[in-house]
């Protein structure tokens, strides 16, 4: 029996992580659409979505052949690597060691690159490739997240719905505002997702080596609280150091 905690945490993690990725892909597709034309933007996006769907159809069924302990262990290890990477980056961004990701800046950079090539004979092709690449690369991360948070408990459908909700939300808001979604609190999202994925990673790697966590799935909440507390302490500790103050002032 899968608990509500597991389902909710799976959907939330998938939704928030996908939101970050979809916003990044949307910025590039929007730049292509507004600078070049919408035709290459839609063709590039569509082609990337087809490639992603084929990858899911090929690799999805293969996962059912992997013994659950092995799957938990492998997914857990990948989630530890992926989650800790996001968490580290979010902490370093929040204390000012590395710059925050700026969608408006990313949009301006892509627009400038596309404008420079606008008069070339293959400009439409290049613009389509830019959209294709952005959607494929960010989409590959979404596919990994959906499989990673969903597969070990047979919750891929719920994780997929979380990702789909993020996709629809970005598309609807993006169509309404018609500009890069620079106001999305990217680092806060990355921070929360980093906390969740690291917690999932520790939990599943533990299960993969045979640990029966006290309280079963409920211990995920305990692990999440401990990881959050540690990240908070690190943020507080380094927010006030001279090195980060200099870094912020730069």
């Amino acid at each position: 029996m899968i608990s509500l905690t597991t389902i909710l945490s799976t959907v939330t993690a998938s939704f928030l992580a996908s939101l970050v990725e979809v916003v990044e892909a949307f910025t590039i597709v929007l730049a292509v659409g507004l600078t070049q034309s919408w035709r290459p933007a839609f063709i590039g996006t569509g082609a990337a979505l087809v490639v992603l769907a084929v990858l899911v159809l090929i690799f999805g069924p293969l996962l059912t052949l992997v013994p659950i302990e092995v799957l938990q262990f492998v997914v857990g290890v990948l989630l530890i690597l992926f989650g800790m990477r996001w968490l580290r980056k979010a902490i370093l961004r929040s204390v000012g060691v590395i710059a925050l990701h700026d969608e408006a800046k990313a949009f301006a950079k892509e627009t400038e690159a596309l404008t420079r090539r606008a008069n070339e004979t293959r400009a439409d092709w290049m613009a389509g490739i830019a959209a294709f690449k952005a959607v494929l690369l960010e989409g590959a991360e979404v596919v990994f997240i959906v499989i990673a948070v969903g597969a070990t408990r047979g919750l891929t459908l719920y994780a997929g719905l979380g990702a789909l909700a993020a996709f629809l939300l970005v598309m609807i808001v993006g169509l309404v505002v018609h500009r890069p979604l620079a106001k999305v609190p990217e680092n806060t999202l990355k921070f929360v997702v980093g906390l969740m994925l690291t917690s999932f990673g520790i939990f599943w790697t533990g299960e993969g080596i045979g640990a029966d966590w006290p309280g079963a799935d409920l211990s995920l909440i305990g692990i999440f609280v401990i990881v959050t507390a540690t990240a908070w302490v690190l943020t507080q500790r380094y927010a006030a150091t001279p090195a980060t103050q200099e870094g912020t002032a730069k």
């Binding site: 690597l81 968490l87 990994f144 520790i202 299960e207 080596i209 045979g210």
Partner: protein, 69 residues
């Protein structure tokens, strides 16, 4: 070819940003797994060691990045 290279780089980048964070995490997982599977270390304690170890590695990696800045 450039596109394939970018895809491989992106997939690698999904898991490895700061090299030492990834290496230390994998080392920790390997040690804990070996202790549980080969030395009969209680799996419960293995899970706890994994959690504590991951957080220590994270703290070390953040500390190192702040010092480097």
């Amino acid at each position: 070819m450039k596109l394939i290279g970018a895809i491989i780089e992106e997939i690698w980048g999904m898991f490895v940003d700061d090299g030492s964070l990834a290496v230390l995490s994998l080392l920790l997982i390997a040690i804990v797994t070996a202790a549980v599977k080969l030395l009969a270390f209680p799996a419960q304690w293995g899970g706890a060691a994994l959690g504590v170890g991951c957080l220590m590695i994270l703290a070390y990696s953040v500390h190192k990045a702040v010092q480097r800045d």
